[in-house]
Symmetry: C2
Subunit: 215 residues, 2 copies
Amino acid sequence: MNDVIKPGSTTQTAPRAPYHHGDLRSALLDASEAELAEKGIERFSLRGVAKRAGVSHAAPAHHFGDSNGLLSALAARGFHMFLERQQDFKRQASASPDEQIKAATLGYVNFALENPALFRLMFSSDRPDFRSEELDGAATAGFMALVADIERLTGSNPFENQEAMLQVSATWALAHGMADLLCSGRLKSVGQLEADGRNAQITAIMARLLDSGDD
Amino acid sequence: MNDVIKPGSTTQTAPRAPYHHGDLRSALLDASEAELAEKGIERFSLRGVAKRAGVSHAAPAHHFGDSNGLLSALAARGFHMFLERQQDFKRQASASPDEQIKAATLGYVNFALENPALFRLMFSSDRPDFRSEELDGAATAGFMALVADIERLTGSNPFENQEAMLQVSATWALAHGMADLLCSGRLKSVGQLEADGRNAQITAIMARLLDSGDD
DNA sequence: TAGGACATCTTTCCATTGTCAAGTTTGCTT
DNA sequence: AAGCAAACTTGACAATGGAAAGATGTCCTA
């Protein structure tokens, strides 16, 4: 009726306001990320998300179907952030293949430590639906980047060379294991250190693998 | 006093029946394990557990406090099973330190694949309370076994030698990364294989690390 | 410019869940 | 035998996710 802007909006940055709320979809994703970071996935509440976004508790359903749909979209966005964080580190490293891999590992682990709940959503939850094109694509992109790095390192295409694919698996598993253990508070001998020392240890551990069988 | 078996029991195998139900505590743990395996931790229901055990929905509270208390006890039992599974493999392997570590890794990963939901409860959940003496002790025992193996491998006590502790971290992280990725359906190049081929790949990956810096 | 058609969001309602408080049964102790 | 404490049940409550139906705003077309 009137053109008064609804006061319910909370933290929108530059909304195009095409509709009632103004890009509620991404506002809900922001709210979900905050809810997840604060509560963890096991106390994540859809109604809590709606409250953060300043809308009714049933509003998310229209954009995401159910709560798992929302978490799927959030996980997909998480994988994009994840890949970017790895690229952050890679850009600051030397161009040699093994340095690039070490840098990606640092990005991998630091992302997990910076976003532990989101990392768990992406890797240790049944709620996101990986049959979703969007999510599967986002998750696959990171894997493909690693495959390319290993190809540069070994000179063999991992999809054609079993030994190179084994190197992919080993590298991924080692990076993932450090990330998962650290963000669950295990692996205390590494986790207790401050950022620089921790990153040095992570690199040293990865070096132990890379300096071995870089055939 | 008497040896009359209560007729209200539903699915007990060989109950001592010291009380009303007959060792309800462990019956609830069994029921929880089944509930967890079927539903996963994210749809785990305390009332579902009670229904499985054939008791009222509030019965678990007396033995475990709240649902997190039950999950803490279940996780502790999980860590014992976890260690046993590693020892299963170690007994069937040669006594050399690196073969023992490879065997433990096979136990680590196979346990995760056999009990994916329980594995997630143990490593990727905030619900178990690790301040609990029982749980912390069970979780620490596995770590100490690895430390001992690395000491045998390197000849140095990891608690006194930084390089050896780095080896502990690397070994644990690699085993854990494989386990976590495989039981989440990632790492398909390994996960698609049948058991024997999969175990061979796991061993080959671990060898890549152990054959490197076993100083 | 009026009138649908439709996407967006709210309100209301319901089944399920975890937890609490009180009551009931059972075995043990003295 | 009496009482006591442990073990378990019953009933209630607030919070949650989801379904259904209503309300509101926007756009497209005639």
